[in-house]
Symmetry: D2
């Protein structure tokens, strides 16, 4: 790739949009050409997010007024449901576009599964078929040639990475997977919402979407592929009083005589050469704060007190590997750039 | 009971000690006579905890200098290990004493189990045999006549209350219990400790004691009694960035044809008349903040997307029902006082 | 007063409403008869604030449907502006009512000052004249016979208490008062508001209403009365990432040869017999957390490195002494009850 | 400068050390050769700070065993008091070294002032005379040729930047400066300390070092130089429940007929070309979170309700512009590198 990639962001005024900008502003191979935010059109990013004060960025515009002929790549950070139409139109406007979508609209490959979990028929079935699931470590080759990458959910990324290699290796029982996935608040987005006020959610913790969270459908899809059979994990998201971080505690039972150490070995092997997945020493417990602000997923494996049981713990930053960081990683692949471009900084701790 | 009960606290300078004082100062049937804190002897409580400024409280003294003939009741809020000797000596000094112990020293009735989990023989085997497990709702009658009440751990209380009635009713599979138990920071105590600095633990989350936390032994004991057989749940504590609150997500499989609704019914029945255990409406998810500062345990039952599986959620304030609140509840029973004396206030939220 | 006072709350679904309930439920002289919340009418308090689960409370109703003949006392915890009309109507409906108003509508005694700060003429000028400023320690006798008590703002209470005795004693320069008043988030109320989302306000701090916050008008009024001349302090509120607490750092210059110690003496004398104002030892610095959940104001005085300058620090819980706690304190006075009824518990820390 | 600068860090296991590493690992002109941490010698950085897992970094060693002939540059992030001896020895070992010191040892140029504030004679008076105060924007030219740069304190940086241009322009009264400077917890360092436990400091706020904080001496020095006379501001640091951020509210009175707008103009002019100091629009209030993780200082100027008074607000990240970020900025200058190398990323928010 010679020259810089001309990039647009649809939905720049949300948290994942701001995180994309944080990564793309210093990205050596990117030129930002287009930023949209329908309700903030006409404003500068610095008005919406003062951390961008002093930067020379495009003024926010409406999607309808965006000239897509000016960009090579588009990140879409919009609500699910409407995104499928927006993307369909975008490709009509500029068929050469490459799109990394951060919504949920193209994550499920099966139209029936989509309709079940989202309550309506998909409005862009052809694109749904074409889209590549953007879990980089498992779909790298397909992503390199994709026109539309469907970035996975933050809970999904964090829970798929540690489990898929175990299912493929046959070292855990697919019928006994329990996942308790703690998340920070920024995943809830920036919309005004009584339930997300500081006074409502600080100094306390609670589960939500219990037994039915939509990210579960992504686990079903990827676990099923890995196991070659249906896998229906128990999955509960829990909201913790912090901004960033997904922390999934995965309770498993070993299979085929495997020990906890074998689970660790399977994961260490699967991710040995990955720049953004780190399998910690056997027995070491990750902390979400050690991946804050970085694109890293840290995974730990601990033996339970009883043989045949183990705890696998996986953590990411929901705005990074769980959203915008992985989106940039996929973007790098699509455009033949070094996969770590713009993503090299260590985590921010404390 | 006529007149006030004369009360002492051993270990008044820790968080559970301070919480005992918060409850006992306005308690209508209590006269505080004795407060110890070996390293702070000679100071006033207001020097150690300025929220007690202006109160007329006994000066802090050393345990060795405490005159136990002046008190009817003693709360011991000391580290485990040494407590057993202290209590043994206290009964020698004043055999009529009633003691509520907040340490772990007398929670396990089986000497072998104690030795296994705590790494040494128990030093007061007779008292270990005599002590009554202080989970009020399940040992109320024994507590009323006890001389020594062994207050359960905060994780234990929170995870025993929602599970024991289910095991007794035979509606869940004892071999498939997974507990992910989030806790606030105050349970770690007031000792200087790098790992508990604000900058270390805020804005992040992590598991600890994975696969081997000592509170698990209390679950084993009580679950085993309830089921009439060995039960070894998977149990992982997780440290969340908040001061107070235990939040246990319990993943179960139903047994004997029971549905999630049957689990709810069994819990609602078990706790129908309890002042401090509230079973929420079927499907309602508790929040830890709604029990903050109160002695209440709130329990919710939610069906999983698959039949035969359910999520039971239980929450307490670790310093209240998980420690000092339940200790006062037990004290009230021991002295024939109304069980809710000094414990009537609703939770502090926000 | 024989029997219990029958009490209603207008605006029970906000944070100050919930805090009133927390205090009034265990209050020994109160019977709760009436709770309103226009947008939540028909619900139970437990639906709106699950910490009230299990209590036998009146169902939420609309103000228009409230029968005021059933109550002796009314707490109004409504937005400013509309409250004056609501209270005017309430007195018409039941002239014997006693009302403690937590809004800003009756705090300013001067119609012109009201119009200036609130942008419109007052709609109940007679009541404005009649209302007693509810800063208990300074208006106790008037409150005892008041029909309408205008509870001061949280910033105002916290900054008036430490300064008025100094102005009266003539030990500080009225022209050199600077107040930096930190506040927790709960003062912003429960309305959905992007600016108060957890992710917006956690892990950071910022000033607001700089140079023009409306509570300043209450300072002007009370400082002016105390000094017998105009006093226009510099006052800036700052939003800190915590739920509760006002923490005012007051920078003063001494006058008439006074030393910092003299300031301390003046405050200690002024509040020597007050149950809810504690002047700490000279040089001791208060922490907001030591008044959390209590009705206490703690005040410290520290000498600056230069003679003639001092720092006076005052802290309250904004929902307690800053709102609902002081409202109950005033209610107690109005009904001849012990002033500390329902307010005796020490602060919740940690 | 051709090739990379070989860099060592003394004191890599503290928060400022970790932050230096976060910046220097991806720095394009740096080769890390040497990391010390006396009590953690023999460990890897990943053992001390797991966010550095997977990086190829020097093993931690003791200062006594460090070979300073291998490095061109040294960052010292050690406690004050001992640092002066360590640096003195370092220059003896390698006279060509360039050192950026993050301790307080060389910030005060006046030996008498040092002795007064730190309680002992300085042990390296020659170096004290030689050291350049590392407030980049005001000592840039001297820093470029310095052998020893004394990085200012976090409170000092944040309060000197907004005030010095005003004193130089003569638009404020030097005798009426009041500074209330809020700080996050990471400035207190990583040593075990009861007072900094999460449960002690979360959900509350308090002042410390009132009337006598040592950073005040740096203000005195720099304000005095700017005004050409003694300036003794009132300065109080306040600990807020967040990890990062300094937020100084500076209360001033205008002089020589200046208006608040003139203060804004003076600051805007002074920092017009600075990459890391941003003067916001007149009236705009900064938030500390908008500089989190960045090397930026944001400054706002707001008029008070009374003419002749203004509020100037300045905010930095205490680990960045307040410590390690400014240290890298100074390092860049010393080695003739682009001043923004390694410091280009926007702030992390949320």
């Amino acid at each position: 790739m010679s020259g810089k990639v001309k990039v647009g962001i649809f939905g720049a005024s949300g948290y994942t949009g701001a995180e994309l900008l944080r990564l793309l502003v210093p990205h050596p191979h990117v030129e930002l050409k287009l930023l949209t935010a329908d309700r903030k059109a006409g404003l500068n990013m610095a008005d919406v997010f003062p951390q961008f004060t002093g930067l020379d960025l495009p003024v926010l515009t409406k999607i309808d007024e965006a000239d897509l002929s000016t960009v090579d790549a588009l990140f879409t950070a919009l609500p699910h449901g409407t995104t499928q139409t927006v993307i369909s139109d975008a490709f009509k406007s500029n068929p050469k576009l490459k799109i990394v979508d951060l919504s949920a609209d193209f994550r499920l490959g099966d139209p029936a599964a989509y309709a079940t979990w989202y309550g309506h028929e998909h409005h862009a079935l052809d694109l749904q078929k074409e889209a590549v699931f953007g879990l980089t470590e498992h779909y790298r080759e397909a992503i390199k040639t994709a026109r539309l990458v469907a970035n996975p959910g933050c809970h999904s990324t964090t829970s798929i990475l540690p489990v898929v290699p175990l299912l493929k290796a046959g070292v855990i029982d697919p019928d006994n997977i329990v996942i308790d996935s703690k998340t920070g608040m920024s995943g809830a987005g920036r919309a005004a919402n009584e339930a997300m006020l500081f006074s409502e959610v600080s100094e306390g913790i609670h589960a939500y979407g219990v037994g039915k969270h939509r990210h579960t459908s992504e686990l079903d899809q990827e676990y099923g592929k890995a196991a070659g059979r249906d896998v229906f994990a128990m999955f509960t998201p829990v909201l913790a009083p912090m901004n960033r971080g997904i922390y999934a505690t995965v309770y498993v039972r070993t299979a085929n005589g495997a020990k906890a150490e074998d689970l660790h070995a399977a994961l260490a092997k699967a991710y040995a050469n990955e720049p953004f997945v780190q399998v910690l020493k056997f027995g070491q417990v990750p902390h979400s704060r050690h991946v804050r602000g970085s694109n890293t997923c840290q995974i730990g494996v601990v033996a339970d007190r009883l043989p045949g049981r183990a705890i696998v713990i996986s953590t990411t930053d929901n705005l990074m590997k769980g959203a915008s960081g992985q989106a940039v990683q996929n973007f790098n692949l699509v455009f033949g750039l070094p996969e770590t471009s713009g993503l090299a900084g260590p985590a921010l701790f404390p």
